[in-house]
Every structure is written in C-alpha cells, then in structure tokens.
C-alpha cells in the first residue's frame, strides 16, 4: 500500500465512522422517544436518566470539577488577567475570558473530563455485558438495549455536559478573578459585573449547542463501541480505545468548527 492508498483508506474509514455514529444517534433518539411516547407512565427510563446524571454530573462536581476549577482559576485565568491587563484593553481581557475561555476552552475541558471519567467506564461496561451474553439474554425477553442503556446515557450525558460546563465555567472564572484580586489588585473584581453584562444571548445559544453535541457524541461513541464487542475479551480494550479516541477527535473537530 502506498501513502496515497493509506490516506484514502483512512479518510474513507473516518467518513464511514462519522456516518455510523450519526445513524446510531438518530436511531437511539428515535427509539427512545418512541418508547417514551408509548409508555408515558413508565419510570424505568426516567430513573435511568437520573442515575446517569448523578453518575456523570453530580458525582464529579466536587471530586473533579471543583478541584480543576481552583487549579485552572489560579494557574491560568488569574495569570491571564494580570498579564493581559498590562498589554491590552479591558475589552480585550473580557473578550478573551468570555469568548475563548468560558465558551470554548471550558466546554472542551468538561468534555475531556467526561470522556475520561464516564465515557471509558461506559464503553467497558457495555463491552463486558455484550461479551457475557447479558445483552443477548435481555433482547430475547423483548428488551431493546438501545432504549434501556444507550438512550438514558445519551440524554443523561448531554444534560451532565451542559450543566457541568456551566458550573465549571462559572467556578473557573470566579476563582480566576478572585485570585487575580488577591495577588494583583482588588480592582480586578470589576470583571465580575463587566463579564455578566457582556454575555450575548446568541453566544449562550451556541454554548448550549456546542455542549449538547459534545454530550451526545461522547455517549454515542461509548455505547456504539461497547455494543460492538462480539466474541473475544480482547475486543473490549480495543473498542474502549476507539471510543475514547473517536470522542476526543470529534470534540476537537466540533471545537474547531465552533471557532470558525
């Protein structure tokens, strides 16, 4: 195979993966909402979504996000404010803090946390369930695993991504401004009110779309690759690796599109 063939093959594979993933997301959403429409009083799926939000969102609040917010607030945001004040205007500081840190960098970091923390865990869990015939046994009882496992995960991870991203952004900026006020000048506290006034509704809308896509892609990759484990235990780490790498590539690609 020459270099051109390898590149062609890789590109073809990449496009097929994207199409597969989009098809998977659409199928999961269609089946999930159709199930919920038919079974309005059924609490099984709703409880599963709540469990997913607790696992992905609530459980990582203090243990991961709070600590990361303090670290990033101190090591990056506070330094950035102090440095930018010396070389730029107040508007430029706000622009960088709001557009680049809050709306672009923090959602990306949140997505990376979710990929590492629960995306991988979910892919392993699904892979093990597939290999142990647990999925097949359930399907024989008429249970659609896409509705029972993939749909709650898709909805739960999306809600978790949005809420964690809001929480992470708010905390990081708050700690950043506070540390810059402590270590530089208390006048830096003015950025709180200026930041709040500078937020545009359209930017919040893009922030929401961005995070929704991140959440859906992370969950879909984990479920898709986990459910594709078929015969051997060795497939589990291979699929988990693919789920993590595809999720990372996808969120970076979406971030680039968001910037453009």
């Amino acid at each position: 195979m020459n270099l051109l063939e390898i590149l062609g093959h890789r590109s073809q594979q990449f496009i097929i993966n994207i199409i597969d993933l989009i098809f998977f997301i659409v199928t999961v959403l269609r089946r999930g909402f159709s199930y919920l429409r038919k079974n309005k009083d059924n609490s099984l799926i709703k409880n599963a979504v709540v469990r997913e939000i607790i696992f992905d969102g609530v459980d990582s609040l203090i243990s991961t996000i709070l600590i990361l917010s303090i670290v990033i607030g101190f090591s990056t945001i506070a330094q950035l404010i102090i440095f930018l004040q010396n070389i730029g205007t107040e508007t430029e500081v706000i622009n960088i803090l709001l557009r680049h840190v809050t709306l672009e960098l923090i959602p990306l970091l949140t997505a990376i946390v979710i990929i590492c923390r629960s995306g991988s865990a979910m892919a392993i869990q699904m892979g093990n369930m597939s290999i142990n015939q647990e999925i097949k046994s359930l399907e024989l009882l008429g249970v659609d695993v896409l509705v029972l496992f993939a749909f709650p995960s898709l909805v739960g991870k999306t809600i978790s991504q949005i809420s964690l991203s809001c929480y992470f952004s708010t905390l990081t900026i708050t700690f950043g401004i506070l540390f810059s006020a402590i270590f530089d000048s208390s006048s830096n506290l003015k950025y709180f009110s200026i930041l709040i006034d500078s937020i545009q509704p359209m930017e919040l809308f893009y922030f929401l779309i961005n995070n929704t896509l991140f959440g859906m892609i992370i969950s879909a990759n984990a479920s898709f690759h986990g459910l594709h484990v078929k015969h051997s235990v060795t497939e589990v780490p291979q699929r988990v690796q693919k789920a993590i790498m595809h999720s990372l590539f996808s969120v970076f690609a979406i971030s680039v599109l968001y910037i453009l």
């Binding site: 079974n39 099984l44 869990q125 142990n132 647990e134 097949k136 046994s137 024989l140 009882l141 008429g142």
Partner: protein
C-alpha cells in the same frame, strides 16, 4: 383434567444453520403444560432443533407451526428462551434483574411488579439473598433467577438449553424439582435440552431423542425406558 392444547407442531423440520450438516428432521407436537426433554449425543444439534422450535432459526425444510395462542410478533410474551450461556445483568441486583423486563414492558403498575417479584422469589424456597449482584451468587441462584425473570413475563413456553450445566448433583435435584413444580403450578410448557436421562425418565411428559441418524419421540415413560435399556444409553 384440562385437555392439553397443541402449542407447536413440527413436521419433518430441519433447522437452517450454516457450517454444519444437520440432517435429522424432527416431527413432534408440543402440548401445553408439559415438560419436554430433548436428548441426544450431539449437543449442538439439540440446541439448533430447540432454537428452530422456538422460532429463533427458520427450518431449512419441513415446517414448524404455532398455535394461535402463540404470538410470533412479540414472541417474548409467549415464548421465552434461555441459552446455556445466558446470564443476568451484572450491573443489577438479583431482584432488579427479575423486575427489569417486566418494568420495561410496563407489564403492570410498579408496586404490583414489586409484589409479584417477591412472590416468585419466595417460591424458590431457600434462604438466598436476592438483593446482591450476580457476581456474588451461586450457580443455582443464577439459574433460578434466569427462569424467574423469564416466567415473570408469563410465557406459554419456556425453552431451556442445558439447564443443569454448571450445577452439582444436589443443585441439579433442587433445580429439577423447581422446573417440575413450575409446569404443574403455572401450567407452563418447559422444553429442555441435554438433561440427564434419569431426569427425563422420571419427570418428562415427552422425550425427543435425536441420535446421529434418527429422531425418536416418546410420549410414554415406559417406551423411553425400554429404548434406554435396548440401546444401553
């Protein structure tokens, strides 16, 4: 005594499977509330014939017909099938495993499903804790819970591949008695493959023996006993 209804009728049916040369055709009638045992030297052939009877694989030749009471659209509600390697969901406790399919199908209100699950588990008649994960259960408890999970959906027929696989002699006795009691109390038909000939001899209402070349169907216990003596199996 209730008249037994024919649920499945197979006529010269040979399962359609790839990479194997299955030639034995099966002709039999499976009645309601009966215990049917498929025996024979080739375990794969037994399981393939059982899958064909359950409608999981199609017949290559011949036919398998179902009674009108057996819906083939949502066949989980009338036909349950437990593979020899079927397992409970590892992420749920025993009792949650039992309730999950019933909750998914919205079989009844939640409190009724809870009550029904407690009743079914109490029928197992031994002091096992069902609020633990399958990883901490004995092989017998897992087998019991797989059956309870399946019969929770009130199927008319339950197919069990190699039900005594992984069980010791004492556990086989307990699980065998449970299956016999299920047929009597719940009026369910149980079709098993690859059970020991002692169990079949004492409890089966019908024995289907698939040898390497022929298929023998025994409706009477005496006929099967004579066959066993004759062939010294």
């Amino acid at each position: 005594m209730n008249k037994k209804e024919t649920l499945i009728q197979a006529t010269s049916a040979v399962p359609k499977i790839e990479a194997t040369s299955l030639t034995q055709s099966l002709s039999c009638e499976i009645s309601s509330a009966s215990l049917v045992c498929l025996l024979g030297p080739r375990i794969n052939a037994l399981n393939s014939h059982m899958e064909m009877l359950a409608g999981i694989i199609a017949p290559d030749s011949g036919s398998v017909n179902y009674s009108n009471n057996l819906s083939t659209d949502n066949n989980y509600s009338t036909i349950s099938y437990i593979y020899h390697n079927s397992t409970l969901l590892s992420i749920l406790t025993g009792i949650d495993n039992v309730k999950a399919p019933a909750l998914y199908h919205h079989f009844a209100p939640v409190n009724e499903i809870d009550r029904e699950a407690e009743i079914l588990l109490a029928e197992l008649n031994y002091g096992a804790d069902h609020k633990i994960l399958p990883a901490f259960m004995t092989a017998l408890q897992k087998k019991h819970l797989l059956v309870v999970r399946a019969i929770f959906l009130k199927p008319k027929i339950l197919f069990l591949e190699n039900p005594f696989n992984d069980l010791d002699k004492e556990q086989i006795q307990v699980f065998g008695n449970y299956l016999v009691q299920l047929v009597k109390r719940k009026n369910i038909t149980i079709v098993t493959s690859n059970v020991n000939s002692d169990f079949a001899q004492h409890h089966a209402d019908q024995v289907i023996y698939l040898s390497s070349t022929d298929t023998h169907v025994f409706e009477q216990k005496q006929d099967f006993c004579s066959f066993l003596q004759l062939t010294s199996i």
